[in-house]
């Protein structure tokens, strides 16, 4: 079983548009939306949840006020400034480390589990999908990504799928690292802007760091043809295969508004054809 992650570094370059299109083109794949704090793939694939799991990602310190003597030791030792002046836990700042529980001389503090989000296993028209939603403002998105990937793998094994397609989140930090570790292919979707190029390079370094084979796709290439050329020659110099060069087309947004992938909405468009070409290249790699 192969695993493919679509990532970008910079947000809004078209990861989800491309992942959703691949899903339609794939015959026997499992889909994983690993952008757990702003997941969008479900708006194009319309999954029906068949199983929901609570995600307990982090813990929270709770002070028993009947025991607390307000000695302030917990406040002193907490490195996250999560204990307020009147000795209360700031749930946003608390990282659930437990230091307060061991320094408290009267055992007034305990760690409690909190529900940090939900993971789902769903059915779509095009196959099974693993996805999740982190509660707004929660930490530990990396752990939830790992759970989504475990679910996707389990589904793929059960369904005899040969491919897991993973939609990543922007950036290169914790959730993205959890989305790329151990996968076979990383497709970086970029755009021909200065930020697109800058973030592409960092995303490629990340793939190299984790030994993932890189592919690049330039989306909205006609926004700046000089920059597109720069990306192409950068990839050539570094022996990185360009899988696709996609033009800007307002139809992509129209498709999104209609809750459809571009492959379904406008199969004859240049965008759809280019994505189909990319899909063939990736399948034969």
């Amino acid at each position: 079983m192969k695993q493919l992650t679509v990532l970008s570094g910079k947000g809004g370059t078209g990861k989800t548009t491309i992942t959703a299109s691949f899903t339609v083109l794939a015959k026997n794949a499992v889909i994983a939306d690993c952008d757990v704090d702003a997941p969008d793939l479900h708006m194009l694939l319309h999954p029906e949840a068949i199983k929901t799991q609570e995600f307990r990602g982090s813990k929270l310190a709770v002070i028993d006020k009947t025991k607390c003597t307000e000695c302030s030791l917990c406040r002193e030792k907490c490195r996250f400034n999560a204990i307020t002046e009147d000795i209360k836990v700031d749930p946003i700042a608390c990282e659930g480390c437990g230091v307060c529980t061991i320094v408290c001389p009267v055992n007034a503090i305990a760690l409690t589990e909190r529900i940090s989000g939900y993971a789902y296993i769903s059915k779509t028209k095009y196959g099974f999908m693993a996805h999740a939603l982190l509660s707004p403002g929660e930490a530990n998105s990396g752990k939830l990504v790992t759970l989504v990937r475990q679910n996707a793998k389990m589904l793929a094994e059960k369904e005899n799928s040969d491919l897991v397609i993973i939609d990543g989140s922007p950036g290169i930090g914790c959730p993205v690292i959890a989305s790329v570790t151990g996968v076979d292919i990383g497709l970086v979707v970029t755009e021909p802007t200065m930020s697109g190029i800058h973030d592409l390079k960092r995303a490629l370094q990340l793939l190299k760091h984790f030994n993932v084979a890189p592919f690049v796709c330039v989306n909205m290439h006609d926004i700046n043809r000089d920059n597109t050329e720069r990306i192409l020659s950068f990839c050539k110099e570094n022996s990185i295969e360009i899988t696709g060069i996609i033009p800007f087309d307002p139809k992509v947004t129209e498709a999104m508004v209609n809750g459809k992938t571009i492959i379904e909405y406008s199969p004859e468009s240049d965008v759809a054809k280019e994505i189909e070409g990319m899909w063939r290249k990736i399948c034969s790699s």
Partner: protein
């Protein structure tokens, strides 16, 4: 006044709004808190005057004192330290630097050492000063770098913070303590969906906010309906213009070439000032 610029969905134009607003007003300190992919400097083109490493503290185990009792790994909530009968392993990239392992070690075998996770860069362009952080490749935790960027805050100035996308801990860390948060969105189903999640976060945190709609003429009208129903002020609309996109692609803030926008961004800032009451 401290104003942060955020959005749930990536690529809606946070950095563009932050930079153009910052360049249209005076007495600005710009803090780029998107330490995973800092981009503001690509539009501002600052002279970098100083760089500083960012470290976190991670456990250092003295193998001679350690008797492999395993108390440290039992305590650690992040699986950053692993003790077996003959070996002890530290995973610095998982460590949150709480210091708990050193506290629980009965043989005082654990001290802490510095582990580099990023860099702070200081620069300026005209009278605007810029500080931004850069997370090292392969390091998962952005929050400690964001905290270091925010330590540079000079409250006497107009502080503009550029947030990373999303709604999880790096965003919370960025917007915490802001007087106002500008949410940049686009009028598409993705934009609206992610806006709603971010609104929930800001309401929980009690931070006042308003919306800037970018590429205002693409997509549909649902984001307008949502803002009206929820009484969220729409502070500015930026149309989709090829010229704006092209200028951005070359690293040029569009208000420098399309001068009518300078005034619009000043109005945006004054509007925020009024809403905050400062």
């Amino acid at each position: 006044m401290i104003v942060s610029i955020a959005s749930g969905k990536g690529g809606t134009g946070k950095t563009s709004v932050a930079v153009n607003m910052a360049l249209s007003i005076k007495n600005v300190q710009f803090l780029d808190c998107d330490v995973e992919e800092p981009n503001a400097h690509l539009l501002l083109h600052p002279d970098i005057s100083k760089m500083e490493p960012v470290y976190i503290l991670v456990p250092l185990v003295n193998e001679e004192l350690c008797d492999h009792c395993g108390e440290c790994s039992k305590f650690c909530q992040y699986n950053a330290i692993f003790a077996s009968s003959e070996k002890i392993l530290v995973f610095p990239e998982l460590c949150h630097s709480c210091g708990g392992c050193a506290l629980v070690c009965p043989r005082k075998a654990i001290t802490e050492e510095k582990h580099r996770i990023g860099t702070l860069k200081f620069g300026s362009v005209g009278d605007l000063t810029l500080v931004y952080g850069e997370l090292e490749i392969g390091e998962p935790m952005a929050v400690p770098v964001i905290k270091e960027v925010k330590k540079q805050t000079r409250k006497s100035e107009n502080v503009v913070l550029d947030s990373p996308p999303g709604t999880s801990c790096p965003v919370i860390e960025t917007v915490r303590g802001s007087d106002f948060c500008v949410l940049v969105t686009e009028p598409t189903p993705f934009g609206l969906h992610d806006l709603k999640i971010t609104v929930q976060v800001l309401r929980d945190m009690g931070i006042p906010f308003g919306v800037v709609i970018n590429r205002a003429d693409i997509g549909d009208k649902k984001v307008y309906e949502y803002c009206r129903e929820e009484n969220i002020p729409i502070l500015l609309e930026i149309p989709y213009e090829r010229k704006i996109a092209e200028l951005y692609s070359r690293g040029v803030p569009f208000s420098l070439e399309m001068l009518e926008w300078k005034e619009k961004f000043q109005t945006l800032f004054n509007e925020i000032r009024k809403l905050v009451g400062k």
